[in-house]
């Protein structure tokens, strides 16, 4: 796919977004006291954001629908991440049938200024919001995916790696029946 210029969206200082996210995570930990539940809430919040963000993306990028999961993953990593967060994600580690890949980020704005206390390192998926966003956005273009962090710099890994797995690529459903 030839690279195309990214549309310019209104920009803000990312620290406002980053600190707000961090404060939400802290509040959820205080309220729920159960990291599993916190992970679920972050993923759900991301999903709801992804469902809405995809419209913004399609409108601004003027792109057509992706025909394959391969193409969609490239668009997420190479266009959507830079457009919204000003960082790119490399798409690699494809499995042979093209249904699984990894998004590799060397830099993650959500994690700026963040240091996880030791007791959270095991269970808390701090940046899980991003997985929810991807899942929600791709569901809107008929691709049901699993998304989860398999490497996380906040937990001492070298990079951030989000593993994507395509569960189903649904056919476009038309909102009417052609029966007469």
């Amino acid at each position: 796919m030839p690279p195309r210029p990214l549309p310019q969206l209104e920009q803000i200082n990312a620290e406002i977004f980053t600190l707000t996210y961090g404060s939400i995570v802290r509040q959820l930990i205080a309220d729920f006291e159960d990291l599993d539940e916190v992970n679920k809430q972050l993923d759900q919040m991301g999903y709801n954001i992804g469902v809405r963000l995809v419209d913004e993306f399609l409108a601004k990028s003027k792109m057509g629908r992706c025909s394959s999961f391969r193409e969609a993953a490239e668009v997420v990593g190479r266009q959507a991440f830079p457009m919204f967060l000003n960082v790119a994600a490399n798409v690699t580690n494809w499995n042979t049938d093209g249904t699984e890949c990894s998004l590799i980020l060397a830099d993650n704005p959500l994690a700026d200024f963040v240091e996880l206390p030791e007791e959270y390192k095991g269970e808390l998926r701090y940046s899980g919001l991003l997985c929810g966003v991807i899942r929600g956005a791709l569901e809107m273009v008929n691709m049901d995916v699993d998304a989860r962090f398999v490497q996380d710099m906040l937990r001492g890994d070298e990079v951030y790696e989000i593993r994507l797995r395509l569960k189903e690529h649904r056919a476009e459903a038309f909102p009417f029946k052609d029966d007469d």
Partner: protein, 166 residues
């Protein structure tokens, strides 16, 4: 120095909107207004620390409020406060004629009909706890203890009443 990182405004708009509905819908923990205010309070404190770092020490309450109306408001809400009023007895009213964080909810012109304006203000209420917390957090960091309440009956205009609590 490292260049300040930027991101698309829509990311933050959707995040704060989702936070408002998450805390409003969840079943346990503190009530939504308190939780969202607490979320904002921490953010306001941290942002005020960053944005006032290069400033000479701010003096009295009025000087702090003016800093929040100008520099802080510009950095966070992308414009300055349009109007500042005070009764000189510890109450300040900050009016922003086009409050950026509520623009997605706002009609293009204020509603003339009082009942509809009331309904609109009620609908906006869940989205105001977080900004109120941000403002209170910033003021507290700068040494001004207060309460902050918002009135959104004339969206896109929004006013914030700050009561100094000594």
């Amino acid at each position: 120095p490292r260049q300040r990182r930027r991101c698309a405004e829509v990311c933050n708009d959707l995040l704060v909107a989702e936070a408002a509905s998450l805390f409003t819908q969840r079943q346990y923990g503190p009530a939504a207004p308190a939780a969202l205010e607490a979320v904002g309070f921490r953010v306001g404190r941290q942002l005020a620390e960053r944005y006032s770092r290069d400033k000479a020490r701010l003096g009295d309450t009025l000087e702090v409020i003016k800093f929040v109306c100008k520099d802080f408001w510009q950095a966070v809400f992308r414009k300055q406060v349009d109007n500042l009023k005070t009764n000189h007895r510890g109450i300040f009213v900050l009016q922003d004629h086009s409050f950026r964080w509520l623009l997605r909810l706002a009609p293009t012109a204020p509603l003339a009909d009082g009942a509809r304006a009331e309904a609109q203000a009620r609908a906006a209420q869940p989205y105001l706890h977080l900004p109120c917390g941000i403002i209170r957090g910033a003021l507290t960091h700068l040494g001004v203890n207060c309460t902050v309440e918002a009135d959104a009956r004339a969206l896109p205009s929004c006013s914030f009443t700050i009561k100094i609590t000594a």
